[in-house]
């Protein structure tokens, strides 16, 4: 049992949790993830560690409620518990002094881009961050990103805040301005990561993405998380989750992530139905 010591919404449907997990907090490096299981009937899902505090013995995860498990997690509050939290898993981000780096976070992907941006800054890089969201109310970690950036940009698809447009447009603008960019990290929805890879490819800018395939054990045992990189199968849980964006087969990843869409819908509907019933029951006199 792992205790939640802090829980708060950062934006609509996006919630931050601090969880007591001293061993993981002590070990964790940027780019690594945990696998959680909420209860006895729960599935195992991977979530990237956004931050940790080894003195407090806690790790931070930021969760967008999309399917049943993430919605159920987002219904948890301070002092609630999570049955299993295992990690830190995955190979840590490769951090070195590249020079000028652009760290791009799209949506909840910003939570994953953030720790690597911190590490890149610590290593002496000139850090530019692009923090993208659909609209103003979905922007997360603005202050945190700013604090580790030499230049910080926020973009919104609808123009309700910051730069009006996609993160790729902002990135193109930076490239066009003549800035020499040595390294790009992009974490967010698959179409965004793919688009970033296409922006940087003609300039041969080294670009890394963090992939989020479906996983079970997270230790290399099941092979469910295999992704195609440079034409070869790689296990995201042990060989990744970060890979060279220019070599990733995004179509395959996107297809494979839809493998259980029907199941996921079914599960979510059931869950919401149960939640509604519970709510109604609670409203009874």
């Amino acid at each position: 049992m792992y205790k939640i010591v802090e829980a708060r919404f950062l934006a609509v449907n996006i919630k931050l949790f601090e969880i007591e997990a001293p061993q993981i907090a002590k070990k964790r490096q940027a780019g690594q993830f945990v696998i959680i299981r909420l209860d006895e009937h729960g599935e195992r899902i991977p979530l990237t560690i956004a931050d940790s505090d080894w003195q407090k013995g806690t790790i931070t995860i930021i969760v967008q409620g999309i399917g049943k498990t993430t919605r159920a997690l987002n219904n948890k509050e301070k002092d609630d518990t999570i049955l299993d939290v295992v990690g830190p898993l995955g190979t840590p981000s490769h951090i070195e002094k590249f020079g000028t780096v652009v760290s791009i976070g799209g949506g909840v992907g910003t939570a994953i881009a953030y720790p690597t941006a911190v590490a890149l800054k610590k290593t002496g890089n000139y850090v530019i961050t692009i923090n993208g969201a659909r609209s103003k109310d979905l922007v997360i970690l603005e202050e945190e990103m700013k604090s580790v950036s030499d230049e910080a940009y926020v973009t919104t698809d609808d123009g309700s805040y910051g730069f009006h447009g996609f993160v790729t447009q902002k990135l193109q603008e930076l490239i066009d301005s003549g800035k020499k960019i040595d390294f790009v990290l992009a974490i967010g929805p698959i179409p965004m990561m793919k688009a970033v890879a296409e922006v940087t490819r003609p300039y041969s800018i080294k670009t890394v993405v963090s992939l989020n395939p479906i996983m079970v054990d997270g230790t290399g045992m099941c092979g469910g998380c295999r992704v195609i990189v440079d034409g070869k199968s790689q296990f995201a849980c042990v060989d990744g989750p970060e890979f060279d964006a220019h070599l990733v087969d995004f179509k395959n990843l996107s297809d494979r992530n839809k493998m259980y869409s029907r199941h996921e819908q079914n599960s979510l509907q059931r869950y919401e139905h149960e939640c509604n019933l519970l709510k109604k029951a609670n409203e009874l006199p």
């Binding site: 009937h41 230790t219 099941c222 295999r226």
Partner: protein
């Protein structure tokens, strides 16, 4: 001798008794449920079967057993109706008889060496082992072994599969403090995530683990050694005097053919883990899904026990056609004879001397079919088995919805990534001394599939016990 013991029979009379087959669920019933296929012996059947043993002065069956159980001794006790005595005899050499009685390849081990088997069917040693272990458990007369006075030594066991459990049991009995670290959320390793309920009921595994807990073994789940904590930290910071690594061979091999990442292609590890550990057959009551097998064509690649487990699981999930695709012939299949027999009875279709060359899918990435080649057997290869060679122009297509690859496992790299002083061979298997199971790192021992590559439960258990013995010597003589 007890009162109702049979009068002494001559060897000739014993040889005339036919081998007793266990009561089984009917194939057409069991291929739709997950409960155990074999229902076991009655007490009378067990006694009768035990009478078939001709009491060889130099029993070859004992040499045939990887852990040298006193087979003649325990069978004599069964014949006398002393079932609890028999199980005690077995437990001197084998910590987990209810499990081994079910999953050991007896036909290649003790029963292959049985003298009765030279003329007749061999004595059903495995069935008898299973019967007495079940008798002990079902009558609630499980006696926990004595635990020696505390030695004050702490030992870490990495992995709670067969190697780790047997190692932990011996070490706790010797008076050491034992902590077992398990990466998954449940204990038992392959006994839980790999071997299906219909072959090894999980309650049996859980009961064995409960016994270890009662004896004082501490278990830590969600602990990935190599990630959550390293071997060096266990030795230098956590105060363990020695470490046993029994993490199994958990990195699935794929076929390396085009289309292998289409939706619907699983490793056997994933397919079985989703069903056994995550209980995906109970979706949506359990949250983990598995692709629907109902009315579908499912092919499993490989000829080992894992392949049989996967294909029989697919049948139970409702597959219309469940195929085994194996590139050699029947004779070369490494699976237990009983598993192959059960699979056939349940309706599995065997495509022998067949090798898949590619998978085809639709534009959304879903598996639709496979192309295979027929094979014929050529000259023997390194494994001593005849090498399959493709028959030119023999390619054919089969409609397919789900493919499960069960061709074995490589070694998991997590430990040697973080503890490079533990030497591994070119396949990544940890190199351990044959006699002591010691690795190249002081105080670190290893056994089971991580050393041998994919093998059997009993070999892993045997290795765990050998390691326990040398760990005991090591900590009593060397460790500070």
């Amino acid at each position: 001798m007890t009162e109702n013991a049979k009068p002494k029979l001559t060897a000739k009379e014993r040889m005339q008794i036919q081998r007793h087959h266990m009561i089984e669920q009917d194939p057409d019933v069991r291929n739709k449920n997950f409960t155990e296929v074999n229902l076991g012996y009655t007490a009378e059947m067990a006694k009768q079967e035990a009478l078939r043993c001709i009491q060889c002065p130099k029993p070859t069956c004992i040499q045939g057993c990887p852990v040298n159980i006193d087979i003649k001794g325990f069978i004599t006790q069964v014949a006398e109706g002393d079932f609890l005595g028999a199980v005690k005899t077995i437990k001197q050499d084998n910590a987990l008889p209810a499990i081994c009685g079910r999953v050991c390849p007896q036909e290649e081990q003790c029963e292959a060496a049985c003298v009765v088997g030279k003329k007749n069917d061999p004595v059903a040693i495995g069935n008898l082992e299973r019967f007495v272990a079940d008798y002990e458990r079902e009558t609630g007369k499980v006696e926990l072994p004595q635990v020696a006075a505390s030695t004050g030594k702490k030992i870490a066991v990495v992995g709670s599969g067969p190697a780790g459990l047997s190692c932990a049991k011996d070490l706790i009995q010797l008076g050491h403090q034992v902590t077992v670290f398990e990466a998954l959320h449940e204990l038992g390793g392959v006994l839980i995530y790999g071997i299906p309920e219909f072959r090894l009921p999980k309650t049996i595994v859980k009961q064995e683990i409960d016994g270890l807990k009662k004896m004082g073994v501490v278990f830590k789940t969600d602990a990935v050694v190599g990630r959550t904590i390293t071997v060096d930290e266990l030795l230098n910071e956590e105060g363990f005097n020695a470490v046993f690594i029994g993490v199994g061979a958990g990195l699935p091999w794929f076929l390396n053919i085009p289309g292998e990442n289409l939706i619907g292609v699983y490793s056997a590890n994933e397919f079985l883990t989703r069903v056994n550990l995550m209980k995906a057959y109970n979706f949506p009551d359990y949250d983990s899904p598995i692709l629907d097998c109902k009315g579908k064509n499912v092919a499993v690649f490989g000829g080992g026990n894992t392949a049989m487990d996967s294909v029989r699981t697919a049948l139970r999930l409702g597959a219309k056609n469940a195929y085994i695709v194996y590139r050699r012939s029947d004779k070369e299949m490494p699976a237990r004879v009983e598993e192959v027999k059960h699979a056939r009875e349940e309706g599995v279709q065997f495509m022998m001397l067949t090798n898949p060359v590619k998978f085809e899918g639709d534009e959304n990435g879903w598996l639709q079919s496979m192309t295979c080649l027929k094979m014929e057997l050529g000259a023997p290869d390194d494994s001593g088995r005849r090498r399959p060679v493709p028959v030119e122009g023999s390619d054919f297509k089969v409609d397919l919805d789900i493919a499960v690859v069960a061709i074995g496992n490589g070694s998991n790299p997590l430990i040697n990534q973080t503890t490079p002083e533990i030497e591994v061979n070119k396949w990544g298997n940890i190199i351990a001394d044959n006699e002591t199971m010691a690795t190249s790192k002081k105080g670190v021992f290893a056994g089971g599939d991580i050393v041998t590559g994919g093998a059997t439960v009993i070999l892993a258990m045997g290795a765990g016990r050998v390691a326990a013995k040398s760990i005991h010597e090591y900590v009593m003589n060397n460790a500070q």
